[in-house]
Symmetry: C2
Subunit: 224 residues, 2 copies
Protein backbone atom coordinates (compact mmCIF):
# COMPACT_ATOMS: atom_id res chain seq x y z
CA UNK A 1 0.00 0.00 0.00
CA UNK A 2 1.39 3.40 -0.96
CA UNK A 3 1.37 6.01 1.73
CA UNK A 4 -0.23 9.30 0.74
CA UNK A 5 0.80 12.73 2.05
CA UNK A 6 4.14 13.70 3.56
CA UNK A 7 6.64 11.19 4.95
CA UNK A 8 6.51 11.21 8.75
CA UNK A 9 9.49 11.50 11.12
CA UNK A 10 8.38 8.68 13.44
CA UNK A 11 9.78 5.25 14.27
CA UNK A 12 9.02 2.54 13.15
CA UNK A 13 9.45 4.11 9.70
CA UNK A 14 6.98 1.65 8.13
CA UNK A 15 4.16 3.05 10.30
CA UNK A 16 1.37 4.10 7.96
CA UNK A 17 0.03 7.60 8.58
CA UNK A 18 -1.85 8.62 5.44
CA UNK A 19 -2.36 12.39 5.00
CA UNK A 20 0.23 13.19 7.65
CA UNK A 21 0.92 16.93 7.89
CA UNK A 22 4.24 18.02 9.45
CA UNK A 23 4.10 20.37 12.46
CA UNK A 24 4.17 24.10 11.81
CA UNK A 25 5.86 25.07 15.08
CA UNK A 26 9.45 24.20 16.03
CA UNK A 27 10.26 21.99 19.02
CA UNK A 28 11.46 25.00 21.01
CA UNK A 29 8.31 27.03 20.20
CA UNK A 30 6.04 24.17 21.38
CA UNK A 31 8.03 23.62 24.59
CA UNK A 32 8.19 27.37 25.20
CA UNK A 33 4.39 27.83 24.90
CA UNK A 34 3.72 24.80 27.16
CA UNK A 35 6.34 26.03 29.64
CA UNK A 36 4.99 29.60 29.76
CA UNK A 37 1.37 28.40 30.07
CA UNK A 38 2.38 26.06 32.90
CA UNK A 39 4.31 28.86 34.65
CA UNK A 40 1.26 31.14 34.41
CA UNK A 41 -0.92 28.42 36.01
CA UNK A 42 1.64 27.63 38.73
CA UNK A 43 2.31 31.24 39.67
CA UNK A 44 -1.40 32.15 39.63
CA UNK A 45 -2.21 29.29 42.02
CA UNK A 46 0.83 29.96 44.21
CA UNK A 47 0.16 33.69 44.54
CA UNK A 48 -3.64 33.45 44.96
CA UNK A 49 -3.36 30.67 47.57
CA UNK A 50 -0.91 32.89 49.48
CA UNK A 51 -3.74 35.30 50.33
CA UNK A 52 -5.19 32.72 52.71
CA UNK A 53 -3.18 32.29 55.90
CA UNK A 54 -4.95 29.02 56.59
CA UNK A 55 -3.27 27.18 53.71
CA UNK A 56 0.13 25.76 54.65
CA UNK A 57 3.08 26.02 52.27
CA UNK A 58 3.06 22.30 51.44
CA UNK A 59 -0.65 22.50 50.62
CA UNK A 60 0.06 25.49 48.35
CA UNK A 61 2.65 23.39 46.51
CA UNK A 62 0.10 20.60 46.22
CA UNK A 63 -2.48 23.05 44.85
CA UNK A 64 0.07 24.05 42.19
CA UNK A 65 0.66 20.39 41.27
CA UNK A 66 -3.05 19.52 41.07
CA UNK A 67 -3.77 22.59 38.94
CA UNK A 68 -0.88 21.82 36.58
CA UNK A 69 -1.52 18.08 36.27
CA UNK A 70 -5.32 18.52 36.15
CA UNK A 71 -5.18 21.02 33.29
CA UNK A 72 -2.60 18.86 31.48
CA UNK A 73 -4.93 15.84 31.80
CA UNK A 74 -8.04 17.75 30.76
CA UNK A 75 -6.69 19.88 27.94
CA UNK A 76 -3.63 18.12 26.48
CA UNK A 77 -4.56 14.48 27.13
CA UNK A 78 -8.28 15.18 26.66
CA UNK A 79 -7.59 16.52 23.17
CA UNK A 80 -5.43 13.49 22.29
CA UNK A 81 -7.96 10.97 23.58
CA UNK A 82 -10.71 12.32 21.36
CA UNK A 83 -8.70 13.50 18.31
CA UNK A 84 -7.58 10.32 16.54
CA UNK A 85 -6.51 12.27 13.45
CA UNK A 86 -4.40 14.98 15.08
CA UNK A 87 -1.47 14.11 12.80
CA UNK A 88 -3.51 15.27 9.79
CA UNK A 89 -4.14 18.72 11.30
CA UNK A 90 -3.46 21.48 8.76
CA UNK A 91 -4.49 24.42 10.90
CA UNK A 92 -1.44 24.58 13.15
CA UNK A 93 -3.72 24.07 16.19
CA UNK A 94 -1.41 24.04 19.23
CA UNK A 95 -2.68 20.81 20.83
CA UNK A 96 -2.21 18.91 17.55
CA UNK A 97 1.29 20.37 17.31
CA UNK A 98 2.10 19.09 20.80
CA UNK A 99 1.13 15.50 19.93
CA UNK A 100 2.87 15.63 16.56
CA UNK A 101 6.00 16.61 18.47
CA UNK A 102 5.55 14.13 21.37
CA UNK A 103 5.00 11.26 18.92
CA UNK A 104 8.71 11.60 18.07
CA UNK A 105 9.34 10.16 21.54
CA UNK A 106 6.51 7.61 21.29
CA UNK A 107 4.96 6.98 17.88
CA UNK A 108 2.18 4.93 19.50
CA UNK A 109 0.39 8.26 19.95
CA UNK A 110 0.21 8.85 16.19
CA UNK A 111 -0.41 5.12 15.61
CA UNK A 112 -3.38 5.19 18.04
CA UNK A 113 -2.16 2.25 20.14
CA UNK A 114 -5.14 0.98 22.12
CA UNK A 115 -3.21 0.77 25.42
CA UNK A 116 -2.08 4.40 25.13
CA UNK A 117 -5.56 5.63 24.12
CA UNK A 118 -7.18 3.72 27.02
CA UNK A 119 -4.82 5.17 29.60
CA UNK A 120 -5.05 8.70 28.16
CA UNK A 121 -8.85 8.45 27.96
CA UNK A 122 -9.18 7.33 31.60
CA UNK A 123 -6.71 10.04 32.65
CA UNK A 124 -8.55 12.80 30.80
CA UNK A 125 -12.10 11.79 31.71
CA UNK A 126 -11.66 10.70 35.36
CA UNK A 127 -8.37 12.05 36.65
CA UNK A 128 -8.54 15.51 35.05
CA UNK A 129 -11.77 16.57 36.79
CA UNK A 130 -10.68 14.74 39.98
CA UNK A 131 -7.50 16.87 40.10
CA UNK A 132 -9.58 20.06 40.03
CA UNK A 133 -11.78 18.58 42.78
CA UNK A 134 -8.56 17.96 44.76
CA UNK A 135 -7.76 21.69 44.47
CA UNK A 136 -11.16 22.51 45.98
CA UNK A 137 -10.81 19.76 48.64
CA UNK A 138 -7.40 21.02 49.81
CA UNK A 139 -8.42 24.69 49.81
CA UNK A 140 -11.60 23.99 51.80
CA UNK A 141 -10.10 21.22 53.99
CA UNK A 142 -12.61 18.55 53.05
CA UNK A 143 -12.41 15.23 54.89
CA UNK A 144 -12.02 13.44 51.53
CA UNK A 145 -8.95 15.47 50.58
CA UNK A 146 -6.35 12.75 51.36
CA UNK A 147 -8.27 9.80 49.97
CA UNK A 148 -9.04 11.75 46.78
CA UNK A 149 -5.38 12.74 46.29
CA UNK A 150 -4.39 9.12 47.01
CA UNK A 151 -6.90 7.80 44.46
CA UNK A 152 -5.74 10.15 41.69
CA UNK A 153 -2.06 9.48 42.42
CA UNK A 154 -2.62 5.73 42.31
CA UNK A 155 -4.50 6.10 39.03
CA UNK A 156 -1.61 8.12 37.60
CA UNK A 157 0.89 5.47 38.75
CA UNK A 158 -1.20 2.61 37.34
CA UNK A 159 -1.63 4.46 34.03
CA UNK A 160 2.11 5.18 33.77
CA UNK A 161 2.88 1.53 34.58
CA UNK A 162 0.56 0.28 31.81
CA UNK A 163 2.08 2.90 29.48
CA UNK A 164 5.66 1.70 30.05
CA UNK A 165 4.90 -2.05 30.24
CA UNK A 166 2.89 -2.11 26.99
CA UNK A 167 5.76 -0.27 25.23
CA UNK A 168 8.26 -2.80 26.59
CA UNK A 169 6.08 -5.75 25.51
CA UNK A 170 5.66 -4.25 22.04
CA UNK A 171 9.43 -3.98 21.52
CA UNK A 172 10.21 -0.53 22.97
CA UNK A 173 11.04 0.87 19.53
CA UNK A 174 8.83 3.90 19.14
CA UNK A 175 11.24 6.82 19.55
CA UNK A 176 12.72 8.68 16.59
CA UNK A 177 16.13 8.89 18.34
CA UNK A 178 17.70 8.33 21.79
CA UNK A 179 17.31 12.10 22.35
CA UNK A 180 13.52 11.88 21.97
CA UNK A 181 13.42 8.61 23.92
CA UNK A 182 15.04 10.12 27.00
CA UNK A 183 13.64 13.66 26.70
CA UNK A 184 10.00 12.79 25.91
CA UNK A 185 9.28 9.12 26.68
CA UNK A 186 11.33 8.96 29.89
CA UNK A 187 11.81 12.60 30.92
CA UNK A 188 8.32 13.96 30.35
CA UNK A 189 6.74 11.01 32.16
CA UNK A 190 9.14 10.89 35.11
CA UNK A 191 7.22 13.57 37.05
CA UNK A 192 4.12 11.35 36.89
CA UNK A 193 6.05 8.56 38.61
CA UNK A 194 7.92 10.56 41.26
CA UNK A 195 5.28 13.09 42.38
CA UNK A 196 2.28 10.70 42.59
CA UNK A 197 4.47 8.24 44.55
CA UNK A 198 5.36 10.93 47.08
CA UNK A 199 1.76 12.16 47.37
CA UNK A 200 0.37 8.61 47.68
CA UNK A 201 2.87 7.81 50.46
CA UNK A 202 2.02 11.03 52.32
CA UNK A 203 -1.74 10.40 52.05
CA UNK A 204 -1.29 6.77 53.16
CA UNK A 205 0.53 7.95 56.29
CA UNK A 206 -1.94 10.76 57.05
CA UNK A 207 -4.87 8.35 56.68
CA UNK A 208 -3.26 5.70 58.92
CA UNK A 209 -2.68 8.34 61.62
CA UNK A 210 -6.31 9.51 61.36
CA UNK A 211 -7.65 5.95 61.53
CA UNK A 212 -5.49 5.32 64.61
CA UNK A 213 -6.78 8.46 66.33
CA UNK A 214 -10.40 7.60 65.48
CA UNK A 215 -9.92 4.01 66.73
CA UNK A 216 -8.43 5.20 70.03
CA UNK A 217 -11.34 7.61 70.50
CA UNK A 218 -13.81 4.79 69.82
CA UNK A 219 -12.07 2.51 72.34
CA UNK A 220 -12.06 5.30 74.96
CA UNK A 221 -15.76 6.05 74.41
CA UNK A 222 -16.58 2.34 74.73
CA UNK A 223 -14.52 1.86 77.90
CA UNK A 224 -16.20 4.81 79.69
Amino acid sequence: MEETGNPHPYVPTDLLLPDYVPPFLSQSAILCIYGVASLVVLSTVWVSSGFSRKIAKLDRLLLCWWAFTGLTHLILEGYFAFAPEFYKDKSGFFLAEVWKEYSKGDSRYAARDSGVVSVEGLTAVFEGPACLLALYAIATRKSYSYILQFAISLGQLYGTAVYFITAYLEGDNFAASPHYYYAYYIGANASWVVIPSLIALRCWRKICVAVNVADQKKTKTKSR
Copy 2:
Protein backbone atom coordinates in the same frame (compact mmCIF):
# COMPACT_ATOMS: atom_id res chain seq x y z
CA MET B 1 2.29 -18.30 6.21
CA GLU B 2 0.99 -21.80 6.96
CA GLU B 3 -0.10 -22.47 10.48
CA THR B 4 1.39 -25.55 12.07
CA GLY B 5 -0.35 -27.73 14.65
CA ASN B 6 -4.08 -28.03 15.30
CA PRO B 7 -6.62 -25.42 14.19
CA HIS B 8 -7.68 -23.26 17.16
CA PRO B 9 -11.27 -22.49 18.21
CA TYR B 10 -10.66 -18.76 18.75
CA VAL B 11 -11.90 -15.60 17.02
CA PRO B 12 -10.58 -13.94 14.90
CA THR B 13 -10.05 -17.20 13.00
CA ASP B 14 -6.99 -15.81 11.18
CA LEU B 15 -5.15 -15.46 14.50
CA LEU B 16 -1.88 -17.35 14.17
CA LEU B 17 -1.16 -19.77 17.00
CA PRO B 18 1.50 -22.18 15.75
CA ASP B 19 1.75 -25.46 17.67
CA TYR B 20 -1.61 -24.89 19.37
CA VAL B 21 -2.69 -27.92 21.43
CA PRO B 22 -6.44 -28.27 22.21
CA PRO B 23 -7.46 -28.52 25.88
CA PHE B 24 -7.68 -31.97 27.47
CA LEU B 25 -10.39 -31.10 29.97
CA SER B 26 -13.99 -30.20 29.09
CA GLN B 27 -15.47 -26.77 29.91
CA SER B 28 -17.52 -28.26 32.76
CA ALA B 29 -14.50 -30.07 34.24
CA ILE B 30 -12.44 -26.84 34.25
CA LEU B 31 -15.25 -24.77 35.78
CA CYS B 32 -15.96 -27.54 38.31
CA ILE B 33 -12.32 -27.71 39.53
CA TYR B 34 -12.10 -23.89 39.76
CA GLY B 35 -15.46 -23.77 41.55
CA VAL B 36 -14.56 -26.50 44.07
CA ALA B 37 -11.13 -24.98 44.76
CA SER B 38 -12.75 -21.57 45.31
CA LEU B 39 -15.37 -23.07 47.61
CA VAL B 40 -12.64 -24.77 49.66
CA VAL B 41 -10.81 -21.44 50.04
CA LEU B 42 -14.00 -19.51 50.88
CA SER B 43 -15.28 -22.02 53.43
CA THR B 44 -11.86 -22.43 55.07
CA VAL B 45 -11.56 -18.66 55.55
CA TRP B 46 -15.19 -18.29 56.66
CA VAL B 47 -15.02 -21.09 59.21
CA SER B 48 -11.56 -20.29 60.58
CA SER B 49 -12.36 -16.55 60.93
CA GLY B 50 -15.49 -17.56 62.88
CA PHE B 51 -13.30 -18.79 65.77
CA SER B 52 -12.43 -15.18 66.60
CA ARG B 53 -15.30 -13.26 68.18
CA LYS B 54 -13.50 -10.00 67.43
CA ILE B 55 -14.02 -10.28 63.68
CA ALA B 56 -17.39 -8.90 62.53
CA LYS B 57 -19.46 -10.76 59.93
CA LEU B 58 -18.81 -8.16 57.21
CA ASP B 59 -15.08 -8.42 57.86
CA ARG B 60 -15.32 -12.21 57.57
CA LEU B 61 -16.99 -11.78 54.16
CA LEU B 62 -14.21 -9.39 53.19
CA LEU B 63 -11.59 -11.93 54.32
CA CYS B 64 -13.26 -14.48 52.02
CA TRP B 65 -13.16 -12.05 49.09
CA TRP B 66 -9.51 -11.08 49.62
CA ALA B 67 -8.47 -14.73 49.92
CA PHE B 68 -10.40 -15.71 46.78
CA THR B 69 -9.33 -12.73 44.66
CA GLY B 70 -5.75 -12.78 45.99
CA LEU B 71 -5.23 -16.45 45.13
CA THR B 72 -6.89 -15.94 41.73
CA HIS B 73 -4.50 -13.04 41.01
CA LEU B 74 -1.42 -14.89 42.25
CA ILE B 75 -2.03 -18.36 40.86
CA LEU B 76 -4.28 -18.03 37.80
CA GLU B 77 -3.25 -14.60 36.57
CA GLY B 78 0.34 -15.06 37.75
CA TYR B 79 0.62 -18.18 35.60
CA PHE B 80 -0.85 -16.40 32.57
CA ALA B 81 1.40 -13.34 32.93
CA PHE B 82 4.56 -15.43 32.82
CA ALA B 83 3.48 -18.30 30.53
CA PRO B 84 3.27 -16.80 27.05
CA GLU B 85 3.04 -20.23 25.42
CA PHE B 86 0.26 -21.76 27.52
CA TYR B 87 -1.71 -22.62 24.37
CA LYS B 88 1.05 -25.03 23.33
CA ASP B 89 0.86 -26.98 26.61
CA LYS B 90 0.73 -30.73 26.01
CA SER B 91 0.75 -31.86 29.63
CA GLY B 92 -2.85 -31.03 30.51
CA PHE B 93 -1.60 -28.68 33.25
CA PHE B 94 -4.72 -27.21 34.85
CA LEU B 95 -3.70 -23.52 34.67
CA ALA B 96 -2.93 -23.83 30.96
CA GLU B 97 -6.32 -25.52 30.48
CA VAL B 98 -8.05 -22.58 32.20
CA TRP B 99 -6.50 -20.04 29.83
CA LYS B 100 -7.11 -22.19 26.75
CA GLU B 101 -10.76 -22.23 27.81
CA TYR B 102 -10.99 -18.53 28.80
CA SER B 103 -9.44 -17.48 25.47
CA LYS B 104 -12.71 -18.59 23.85
CA GLY B 105 -14.24 -15.54 25.53
CA ASP B 106 -11.24 -13.30 24.78
CA SER B 107 -8.66 -14.53 22.29
CA ARG B 108 -6.33 -11.66 23.25
CA TYR B 109 -5.10 -13.99 26.00
CA ALA B 110 -3.83 -16.55 23.51
CA ALA B 111 -2.69 -13.74 21.18
CA ARG B 112 -0.65 -12.15 24.00
CA ASP B 113 -2.16 -8.68 23.60
CA SER B 114 0.16 -6.22 25.33
CA GLY B 115 -2.66 -4.40 27.14
CA VAL B 116 -3.99 -7.65 28.60
CA VAL B 117 -0.51 -8.88 29.59
CA SER B 118 0.31 -5.53 31.26
CA VAL B 119 -2.87 -5.51 33.32
CA GLU B 120 -2.55 -9.20 34.26
CA GLY B 121 1.13 -8.73 35.15
CA LEU B 122 0.42 -5.75 37.41
CA THR B 123 -2.50 -7.62 38.97
CA ALA B 124 -0.47 -10.75 39.67
CA VAL B 125 2.70 -9.05 40.92
CA PHE B 126 1.27 -6.16 42.96
CA GLU B 127 -2.38 -6.87 43.69
CA GLY B 128 -2.07 -10.60 44.45
CA PRO B 129 0.35 -10.18 47.39
CA ALA B 130 -1.50 -6.99 48.46
CA CYS B 131 -4.75 -8.99 48.76
CA LEU B 132 -3.08 -11.44 51.15
CA LEU B 133 -1.72 -8.48 53.11
CA ALA B 134 -5.31 -7.18 53.29
CA LEU B 135 -6.36 -10.48 54.91
CA TYR B 136 -3.68 -9.98 57.58
CA ALA B 137 -4.57 -6.27 57.99
CA ILE B 138 -8.28 -6.98 58.51
CA ALA B 139 -7.68 -9.89 60.88
CA THR B 140 -5.22 -7.91 63.02
CA ARG B 141 -7.06 -4.54 62.68
CA LYS B 142 -4.14 -2.62 61.25
CA SER B 143 -4.58 1.12 60.75
CA TYR B 144 -3.70 0.69 57.05
CA SER B 145 -6.51 -1.83 56.49
CA TYR B 146 -8.94 0.58 54.77
CA ILE B 147 -6.41 2.42 52.65
CA LEU B 148 -4.86 -0.90 51.52
CA GLN B 149 -8.27 -2.32 50.55
CA PHE B 150 -9.08 0.94 48.79
CA ALA B 151 -5.79 0.85 46.86
CA ILE B 152 -6.26 -2.74 45.67
CA SER B 153 -9.89 -2.15 44.71
CA LEU B 154 -8.95 0.93 42.72
CA GLY B 155 -6.20 -1.04 40.98
CA GLN B 156 -8.69 -3.78 40.12
CA LEU B 157 -11.13 -1.21 38.74
CA TYR B 158 -8.43 0.56 36.72
CA GLY B 159 -7.20 -2.77 35.33
CA THR B 160 -10.72 -3.87 34.37
CA ALA B 161 -11.35 -0.50 32.71
CA VAL B 162 -8.17 -0.79 30.61
CA TYR B 163 -9.14 -4.40 29.82
CA PHE B 164 -12.58 -3.45 28.46
CA ILE B 165 -11.56 -0.18 26.76
CA THR B 166 -8.64 -1.74 24.85
CA ALA B 167 -10.99 -4.52 23.63
CA TYR B 168 -13.51 -1.92 22.48
CA LEU B 169 -10.83 0.11 20.68
CA GLU B 170 -9.50 -3.02 18.98
CA GLY B 171 -12.91 -3.92 17.56
CA ASP B 172 -14.47 -6.01 20.36
CA ASN B 173 -14.32 -9.16 18.22
CA PHE B 174 -12.39 -11.68 20.33
CA ALA B 175 -15.09 -14.09 21.50
CA ALA B 176 -15.76 -17.44 19.82
CA SER B 177 -19.54 -16.94 20.24
CA PRO B 178 -22.04 -14.71 22.08
CA HIS B 179 -22.23 -17.45 24.74
CA TYR B 180 -18.51 -17.12 25.50
CA TYR B 181 -18.70 -13.32 25.19
CA TYR B 182 -21.33 -13.00 27.89
CA ALA B 183 -20.27 -15.94 30.10
CA TYR B 184 -16.50 -15.30 30.13
CA TYR B 185 -15.70 -11.81 28.88
CA ILE B 186 -18.61 -10.05 30.63
CA GLY B 187 -19.75 -12.52 33.31
CA ALA B 188 -16.42 -13.64 34.74
CA ASN B 189 -15.20 -10.03 34.95
CA ALA B 190 -18.35 -8.51 36.41
CA SER B 191 -17.40 -9.42 40.00
CA TRP B 192 -14.21 -7.39 39.60
CA VAL B 193 -16.27 -4.31 38.76
CA VAL B 194 -19.07 -4.66 41.32
CA ILE B 195 -17.17 -5.87 44.43
CA PRO B 196 -14.16 -3.49 44.17
CA SER B 197 -16.60 -0.57 43.62
CA LEU B 198 -18.50 -1.46 46.81
CA ILE B 199 -15.30 -1.95 48.83
CA ALA B 200 -13.74 1.28 47.51
CA LEU B 201 -16.89 3.23 48.42
CA ARG B 202 -16.98 1.71 51.92
CA CYS B 203 -13.28 2.46 52.54
CA TRP B 204 -13.69 6.02 51.21
CA ARG B 205 -16.51 6.63 53.70
CA LYS B 206 -14.69 4.98 56.63
CA ILE B 207 -11.56 7.04 55.92
CA CYS B 208 -13.53 10.32 55.65
CA VAL B 209 -15.17 9.60 59.02
CA ALA B 210 -11.78 8.84 60.60
CA VAL B 211 -10.20 12.01 59.16
CA ASN B 212 -13.15 14.03 60.48
CA VAL B 213 -12.78 12.54 63.98
CA ALA B 214 -9.03 13.12 63.97
CA ASP B 215 -9.50 16.73 62.78
CA GLN B 216 -12.06 17.43 65.50
CA LYS B 217 -9.70 16.01 68.13
CA LYS B 218 -6.87 18.19 66.82
CA THR B 219 -9.08 21.32 66.93
CA LYS B 220 -10.20 20.46 70.50
CA THR B 221 -6.61 19.90 71.66
CA LYS B 222 -5.57 23.24 70.12
CA SER B 223 -8.46 25.19 71.65
CA ARG B 224 -7.79 23.89 75.17
